[in-house]
Amino acid sequence: MAETLLSVRHLCTRFETERGGFLAVDDVSFDIQRGETFALLGESGCGKSVTSLSIMRLLPEPAGRIVGGQVLLDGVDLLGLPELAMRRVRGNRIAMIFQEPMTSLNPVLSVGDQIAEVVILHRRLRGRAARSAVLELLEAVGIPDPERRYGEFPHQLSGGMKQRVMIAMALAGEPDLLIADEPTTALDVTIQAQVLDLLAELQRWRDMAMLLITHDLGVVAGMADRVAVMYAGQIVEQAPRRSFFAEPRHPYSRKLFQSLPDMHKRDRPLTVIPGTVPALDRPFRACRFAERCELAWQDCREQAPQWHAEGDGGVRCHLYDRLLSSRRPLHAAAAQPVTSEYTQREAPPAGGRLLEVEELKVHFPIQKGLFKRTVGHVHAVDGVSLRIDKGATVALVGESGCGKTTFGKAILQLIRPTAGRVVLEGTDLTRLRGEALRRRRSDFQIIFQDPFSSMNPRMRVEEIIQEGMVTLGLERDPQRRAQRVAELLQQVGLPVEARARYPHEFSGGQRQRICIARALAVRPKLLVCDEPTSALDISVQAQILNLLKDLQRELGLSYLFITHNLSVVGYLADQVAVMYLGRIVEHGRVAEVLNRPAHPYTEALLSAVPAVDADGRREVIRLEGDLPSPAAPPAGCHFHTRCPRAMPVCRERYPPVTELAGGHRVRCFLYGEG
């Protein structure tokens, strides 16, 4: 057994806010061995980031305060060190990288200088020696042309590059422990795969321990040696990766696995964790998860569970207490969630064309020079054709910047397309203006990604839901309208009392439900869902996905589901279109595309998604570099610059559409002539 590097003992951290204080971290203990990767897994607000900041003693003062416990680094309690000594630990023994590479670098210092700071401070190098050390680091984290990058500023780098710079900065002090706080959450899947690879490689090579903080089970599966699950400020389970993925012990961990969407679950509703995370601003006397746990019995609601250590891990649950679990009533064991089940794969959508998009283009002009002449265009959407049938779900998949959101807004005429047609039930929306367009607006609605900005904070839920009905004149009688609001709230699973409250009183998932109710209020036929679940926690995401699926069955809605999350696609969609730099490169039925991807980009995208199983590590098709700018897309096939299977012809012209079996279409020369 390796020796223990860091040992966190009974850590408690308190936050004081205007409305009173709360314990963000409550009695958290864990050990990290030299050279291992320890993952701290949890949903937003569970206290995992506060734990890492407490270790570094970087809590935002004076709001956050460590009120108890020890953080032992090689046996020395960091919490007892004077600030001066603590500074020699930060960056030198323990380094940290943060979630947002965009804001975590100083915008006015060159990246080289920012890395050099650490080299100078902790390795006592000067001048040329410092510079060459920085160049080595840049090289090591895979930044091409380090000499040139040294003098560049953060805004000149892409998100993935910035995170590499952050990693280089963290490595510069040759730390024993690297704390990575959601290092890839802000990045695209393919970039995430690159960065995770890099981290794993560096760690092996330098024999460095890593505390990986994440909400993503896939990342844990691919990276961690041991896992601790946090819930509401406490660690509820800790285990080696293999046994955690083979048999999660805490009911919460089990639920997390079950609520993950994936293609094999598409015939049934996802298991959900009812309710929301409890507020931390009150003392807990019972189990914090009891309210949401279907296995809970009387004891769970009356006393807080103890930590039961088992082998190399442990769990905080009464189920593992011999005495208490013996008192558990038997019928509770059989309790299963009562939800309608899709026992069979529902019949293919009843057909009939709802929406036909033909050669849609959205170009944004780039203006330059003395008189703001238009010197070029950003080809955000560059000739996309798509068909959505009644009652069907078409998923549009792609990385950020590929134009998928613009495409969604262009369908809704929120952005006027440059060219092409959007035909909804025989009417070309791009030709409608003013009142004529307004009358058709009830047929298509949108749900946005960020539940916090998608509702006017100054309006009550009732007013928000009614707005569309009032504007479009759908329900003129106020009483009937109020009744309809009540119906809608019920339909999306919210209590009728919600109508009189303001958006800020709801959690993210509840807000997303309100947004769905708002869209449904005008009885649309088409719903454009623009990443509706990517800002939500896994357990809440499952609730929303179930709701969307139920609504589709009930109301016969069609969805255009815009997302970057392929497992959601597999669960929800009938058809999937993969978008790259403004164009659809592959299109077909979900089972076809996800199981037998034809386009190299789709292949890479699929392989980059971390698999959630005990042997998470598998071959990832690494894509070189970043997404090129849509202002100057590469000549020929846009993907050839990153394609592992590029051929000479790819550089010359854009590949035509090739029809494969079963309506599977792809734009790639691998299939054209073959």
């Binding site: 020699r88 380094a95 940290m96 915008p107 700071e117 650490v118 401070l121 805004h155 330059k368 703001k372």
Partner: protein
Amino acid sequence: MLAYIVRRLLYAVPILIGINLITFVLFFVVNTPDDMARMHLGMKHVTPEAIAEWKAARGYDKPLLYNEARDGLQRFTDTIFFEKSVRLFAFQFGRSDAGRDIGYDIYQRMWPSLAIAVPVLVFGLLANITAALLLVFFRATYVDTLGVVLLVIMMSVSSLFYIIAGQYVIGKLLHLVPISGYDGGWNALKFIVLPVCIAVLYGLGSGARWYRTLFLEEAGKDYVRTARAKGLSERVVLFRHVLRNALIPILTGVVVILPLLFMGSLVLESFFGIPGLGSYTIDAIRAQDFAIVRAMVFLGSVLYILGLLLTDISYTLVDPRVRIS
């Protein structure tokens, strides 16, 4: 870059035309030259001859926009609009209502104004930044709280009080420096010290408080946390990281007013008897010499627009995020 500057200059043209039109309407349309003549000659018992004579002496006897009595181009040029407003574009300010050459006066009085305004700006900036940094260094302690309260008290006192109290205590009671007046060369120093000190002290309240907010805003950003996570000391974090970022809005804010320094400070110069452009303007306002006021309005606007241009350029120099291709 050059194209950018040229475009900004071109953009300034319609603004200057607008300003010119506003002043023209304000000075010649709201009240007719007759009204102004009557005003200057005293309200009662003014003969039409006296009015005509007053107007003729100052060139206000022409038609406003269109002179029918003339031919060709002169129909437009021999008008009040052309003579008094359009000529401003060429910086031909003409003569004041009292008959002095305004352009010459401006050139003469510019230097005393600068002698006060430049030190006020430089020392004020230093004092404000120092005070703000101190407060930020001691943030969330009693030093910070008391300091902020003191600054709020300082900015709640009228600037006139600083001047009057300063003149009374330093000048009249202690006889350290002359109360007012001005002299050329190095002798100017003893006249300048007091007004500069007073202006810096007055500016400290609002200035330091504003800078403190700027610093605090920067200090709360993610990259500062990164810097701390590197193990840098609080001093290095403050000076290398926070200050550098916060200085960008501060410096560019200073650049806007740089050209306007020529205009001097109205109240300060007037109280201390400094023969600068500020007291020139105040005297003109009090004597209701509209020709001078008009000239100063135009000059001030030109300088401000120049300031805006310099600000945009300085942004591209100071902030690596702003680059003009």
